[in-house]
């Protein structure tokens, strides 16, 4: 295990850090220099390293360096049994851990032909929508803080704690839940579940108006985000973006609508679409997504059925030989779980198609031509989670 520093480039002899094309896009101006937005930086949402080629303060090129939290999750998943992998999917994109569990369990249910009773389906939809609101609240707080409004971080977390309480009462953990099992969940819903959700619904209505007056309506925020990082439809599709980043550029693809899983087709909610695809569109889209999730929760709470919450579960799952794929809409985009099974208790290969990996890929396309401060805005609205990126 070598721990000497990486051999960084030597600017005096015209050295260029790795990943950059030799000739810079702008004229060979004297002020061109390279700035390292290092792995530890307040606005890189974790440990992502960006090397920027700057001319004064405007950006000529960005090369992201990944791998600073690459834990080899897929290799670990190959050596654990199917049940043990569920708690690994929590640590993929830990802000939508329920939805990751759901994606993995759906792939197993597809392989073993396991069905879920009515009440189990409702629990799944309600918990996933709560998880989406919780993740968007944290995203809203952190993106406000990245742009300088520190108070939004505290307001976002204030509402988020209410939903964390629901999850803690439900499955005992605040962040890494490990609650879903193939066929439903490992325990039934506690009796405080429905009243707490009703409380969250009415608080979220007030909170969303407050957020709009505080940040969305603010002229400084609009100046900082409008017409910044415009993503065209073709680039988004060519890079394989998904979630709010794709929808902000005008492509209407939401897994819950276009490829409905669980019982999402029973609830009516609409999928907001952006027009220009700049940072402000991505931002407004996510706020609108929160409102839609609250709308789904309202419908689900009225018709919450009684009955069994899961179907029969086994101690050890042995998936028959073959490959199984399922995809879900996490807070960040489309998470695909691809399991190749050999019939034994352990999977042969598990591949997670992570939304943040493709969403961040477009950073170089968006950032060129903007200022250094706009990099922070673009990173905030791309809303990626680095362990989901590095796996």
């Amino acid at each position: 295990m070598n721990l000497e520093p990486v051999n960084n480039f030597n600017p005096d002899e015209g050295g260029i850090p790795e990943g950059f094309s030799r000739t810079s896009s702008a004229t060979k101006s004297s002020e061109e220099y390279f700035l390292n937005m290092g792995p530890q930086h307040p606005s890189t949402h974790g440990v992502l390293r960006l090397v920027l080629r700057l001319d004064g303060e405007s950006v000529l090129g960005v090369v992201p360096h990944l791998g600073y939290v690459h834990r080899g999750l897929e290799k670990v998943a190959e050596n654990q049994t199917y049940l043990q992998n569920i708690h690994l999917t929590d640590r993929l994109d830990y802000l939508s851990s329920h939805i990751n569990n759901l994606g993995y369990c759906m792939a197993m249910e597809q392989a073993l032909d396991i069905g879920i009773p009515e009440r189990g389906e409702y629990i799944r939809v309600m918990i996933c929508e709560l998880q989406r609101i919780q993740s968007h609240l944290l995203w809203w707080g952190v993106s406000g803080m990245d742009l300088g409004a520190i108070t939004t971080f505290l307001y976002g977390f204030k509402e988020r704690e209410l939903i964390t309480d629901i999850f803690e009462e439900l499955c005992g953990a605040r962040l890494t839940m490990n609650f879903f099992r193939p066929g439903g969940s490992f325990a039934d819903v506690t009796d405080g579940f429905i009243p707490r959700i009703k409380q969250v619904i009415e608080i979220m209505h007030k909170a969303l108006d407050e957020y709009n007056t505080l940040l969305t309506g603010n002229i400084i925020f609009q100046e900082r985000t409008k017409n910044i990082g415009i993503l065209s439809k073709e680039t988004a599709l060519s890079y394989g973006c998904s979630g709010a980043v794709l929808r902000a550029s005008g492509v209407s693809y939401d897994v819950r609508k276009n490829d409905p899983y669980s019982i999402y087709d029973r609830f009516e909610f609409d999928v907001p679409i952006g027009s220009i695809g700049d940072c402000f569109d991505r931002y407004c889209l996510k706020i609108e997504e929160m409102a839609q999730s609250v709308r789904i929760l309202e419908q689900a709470v009225q018709t919450f059925p009684e009955g069994p919450y899961r179907s029969q579960q086994k101690a050890v799952y042995k998936l028959p030989k073959g490959s199984y794929y399922s995809q879900v809409e996490t807070a960040r985009g489309l998470l695909g779980t691809y399991i190749v099974a050999e019939g034994g208790p352990k999977p042969y290969r598990v591949k997670f198609r992570s939304p943040s990996f493709s969403n961040l890929n477009i950073l170089n396309e968006l950032a060129v031509g903007h200022k250094l401060a706009d990099i922070v805005t673009i990173l905030a609205t791309l809303d990626f989670v680095v362990p989901d990126l590095d796996r």
């Binding site: 043990q84 005992g172 953990a173 002229i219 400084i220």
Partner: protein, 154 residues
């Protein structure tokens, strides 16, 4: 065209200024309403702080009043644990029956995933409720869950 541009510019300035004021209105609303403070003062509210029923603090082995536990050293929890946290070390008692000798639980590796408790056929292990385990040395996080005579004093 000049007139629209100039009055559009002026209205933008005025509307922008009003949006700033409305933003300030939100924060001043929080300033003047102490009821909205949500802080729970942790060390002061230690007695009243009650964990939820299903809270996963740490794996613990409940003993009844006679000091007996329900574990039969079957080792299922050891196999279901993904991180090698639990070591069930069985021994034979006088009648030659397999009995639990030592139950090592390494809290430094445990990810609180609750698989062991779900898989235990005898309900011998339960998730404890307290969370105050910060220690100065890594070795102190390795607990022996079953209190028997020799490792109680040993």
């Amino acid at each position: 065209m000049k007139k629209q541009a100039c009055c559009a510019y002026l209205s933008k300035v005025v509307m922008g200024f009003i949006s700033l004021l409305r933003g300030m209105g939100v924060t001043i609303g929080y300033f003047f309403s102490p009821k909205k403070i949500v802080t729970q003062q942790y060390p002061e509210n230690r007695e009243s702080l009650q964990m939820m029923a299903r809270f996963r603090g740490h794996v613990s082995m409940p003993h009844n009043e006679k000091g007996e536990h329900f574990c039969t050293a079957c080792g299922i929890c050891e196999k279901t644990c993904p991180n090698g946290t639990i070591s069930v070390l069985a021994t034979k008692d006088l009648s030659g029956r397999k009995v639990l000798g030592k139950y090592i639980y390494r809290f430094s590796q445990c990810t609180l995933c609750n698989l062991c408790i779900e898989s235990c056929p005898f309900g011998a292990i339960v998730m404890g409720k307290d969370f105050e385990f910060a220690v100065y040395d890594r070795e102190e996080l390795i607990f022996t869950l079953n209190q028997t005579q020799e490792n109680a004093n040993g």
